[in-house]
Amino acid sequence: MKFIYKINTVLLITVLLALMTIIVACTQETSNEQSSSDNTMDDASKPFAGQEIDVLLQRSGDTEYLMDNTDEFTEETGIEVNYTPIAYEEIQERTLLSLSSNSGEFDVVNPFTEMIPALQHSGWIEDLNKIPEEYNVEPIDLDQFMQNYQDYYTFNGETQFVLFQPDTRVLYYNKTLLEEAGIDPPTTWEELEEAAEALTDPDEGVYGYATSTAQGPWTVLTWLPVLYSMGENVLGPDNLPMLDSEAALEATEFYTNMVHNYSPPQGVSMDVFEIEPLLRDGTIAMATIASIVNDPNIGMMSYPLYDESTDRTGSGTTGGWGFGIVKDSDVKGAAYEWLRWATSKETMKEAALAGRLSPGRMDIYEEPDFQEANPNWEAQMEALSTSKMYFPLPVEPEAQEILGTELSRIVTEETTPEEGLDTAQEEILELIKGGGYYSE
């Protein structure tokens, strides 16, 4: 009897709980509808009021500014924004896992440039040209952004991303060290080597040159400006890799010799975060690293040319970050409004001033307060706007891994430049053929 009583009690509680759930759900729905209809009646200028967007972004000074100042955007539009800031090291995995699983987790993503081909070929990102008409929103003026990036962001006629925070690899130099030695910033390879030789003094703990050689993408990205400065490319016509060329070999030998002869002993495996403080404190006189250093005593320029007569193919690779809207998002209009706000001149300028001083809009570089904050603005704008993607194929991650490993093996003298480049050529060619991007 007691058992049956217990069963009855459990059943009663279950039914009551189910009823409560239904009532709460219905009330919430009614309240949402009410709120939505109130918003529509109260303010027709906020067509997306009450909608929520989820933004995945890379954590940096620039994006911190966005996150800290979203309240004004929400006040203006009624759109709520949820941010998921991720460290640089993790954003690739997080973005690709989220998009490939169709999780619907994010409406806006913030990939770095090397991820773009994979995202474009997978068809996960919405065409930004379609949204304004479809959702009756004001279009973003894409002409204001660096066109080399925007061209790269366009695939099959679809503009899929808006540039936010670009970077590339440039030559930085410690102004004090160069001035004291009476050396002008080098403009050719010969001048670079002469300057590095003159400035290297291990007994005094000063080294003429360093570059990011840590295994991974860093080695590739700092090797590219050397190759580009010879007027050469990684891929030739029809996507044929050209790593077994004389030019690639010469670039690699120069790259390696600069590290072996003029870098500190740990120079065979250093990253930008190790080099930057040494550049500032005068341990290293010149360095090829990511364009993220902001210091009045540090000058910036594109990597010196092979010789004065060479036309470079690009300053370096197109690094940095853009925003795109996920195709599966059900709040694309709201996401586009946020994108327009985040990439507007005002917002982007303030974000850049709070962050890396490296905005994607050209018009910000003309602003006096920006120029005052960033003494290298001219060189930076020139380097960024002439940067070039080196491997615009979806197999870029694999190719970068192969090339990065071989360059690391070359710099640490595990292999010779000839052997390392031949291996990279062979493996990358196989990769490209396997992907169907080249056929003999």
């Binding site: 002993p265 065979v268 694999e398």
Partner: protein
């Protein structure tokens, strides 16, 4: 209290024909019913991923190339792994890395025996135990960053200690031939306490009588250890070593934070190689094949150690 009897046999699945199974279920239906959700849940969260991983390993799935049709390619990923120069290199690096476990076991057992022997002699023994346990509580990624700076050239503590001892210009993290030694040193620092704690707990539970008899017979410390402690503690030492062995295949964070497998793949052990395959080159199927091979390797070694252990225990009676 009046008990309500329910005919348990009515709940038994009709498919079960065996009389023994029937009677077992009839007699134990309550515990079986209570435990079955957990078993089903565990099967789902362990078996499903394993089956999925095995299935993926026979395909050509790339995370970044989902626009391509998925095909079954047989054993191609496995043969690629077995013929890859980089994979061979990673296997050798893994063996070097695993050799660190021997040192961890020796140090961990030595510490445990000493601590166990001197428990009553040392004041504040608890403080020493806490100090010894600290490395385990450091998050592996944080420990990687910490050691990266400690081994850092010119500014690192280890560099300065080396200079003090006359060992200058040692590129702990920048030399592809030395970096694996650095990784093993860090691993020993972090995981020796793990062995210590397991063995120490085991030693605390050993019977006192044999030791008293040995003391009366005038056995030396070494003989007591060799002929009493070691045989009695062998199962627990083997268990600790086996756990450490299995956990070693999860080693990733520390190495990634220190070197990312470099320079020149100098510290690329199998878990790092697997991670790169999965998340640097996005070759999901190849990474799955590596994961399956690692799993098989762990099972074989684990089973072998388990058999050896039970033989040894049986031998000792």
């Amino acid at each position: 209290m009046k008990m309500i009897k329910i005919k348990a046999g009515e709940l038994a699945p009709p498919s079960i024909k065996s009389k023994t199974a029937n009677s077992f279920i009839r007699n134990n239906w309550r515990p079986i019913a209570l435990i079955s959700p957990t078993i089903i849940y565990l099967m789902l969260i362990t078996l499903f991923p394993i089956i999925n991983t095995v299935d993926l390993s026979f395909q050509n799935v790339y995370l970044t190339q989902q626009f391509k049709p998925i095909e079954y390619i047989g054993l191609k990923n496995y043969s690629e792994f077995l013929s890859s120069r980089e994979a061979h290199d990673a296997m050798i690096k893994t063996l070097i890395y695993l050799s660190g476990i021997i040192i961890q076991v020796i140090l961990g057992v030595a510490l445990a025996v000493l601590m166990n022997h001197y428990t009553s002699h040392i004041k504040g023994i608890g403080v020493y135990r806490v100090l010894l346990s600290l490395p385990i509580f450091v998050t592996p990624f944080v420990s990687g960053i910490l050691w990266r700076y400690m081994f850092g050239y010119e500014f690192g503590l280890i560099y300065h200690i080396g200079s003090f001892l006359g060992l200058e210009n040692i590129l702990w993290l920048q030399s592809s031939s030395l970096v694996m030694l650095t990784v093993v040193i860090v691993d020993i620092w972090q995981w020796t306490p793990f062995i210590f704690f397991i063995v120490y707990a085991g030693l605390q539970g050993l019977p006192k009588e044999p030791y008293e008899a040995a003391y009366v017979d005038g056995a030396s410390h070494w003989k007591t250890f060799r002929y009493l402690t070691l045989p009695m503690a062998l199962p627990i030492i083997t268990l600790a070593a086996m756990l450490r062995f299995i956990l070693s295949f999860q080693a990733f964070d520390t190495i990634w934070a220190m070197t990312q497998g470099g320079p020149a793949n100098g510290s690329q052990i199998l878990p790092v190689y697997l991670f790169k395959a999965a998340f640097s080159t996005f070759n999901t199927s190849y990474a799955s094949a590596i994961a399956v091979l690692i799993l098989v390797f762990i099972i074989i070694i684990g089973q072998s150690i388990g058999k050896l252990l039970s033989k040894e225990v049986n031998r000792q009676g």
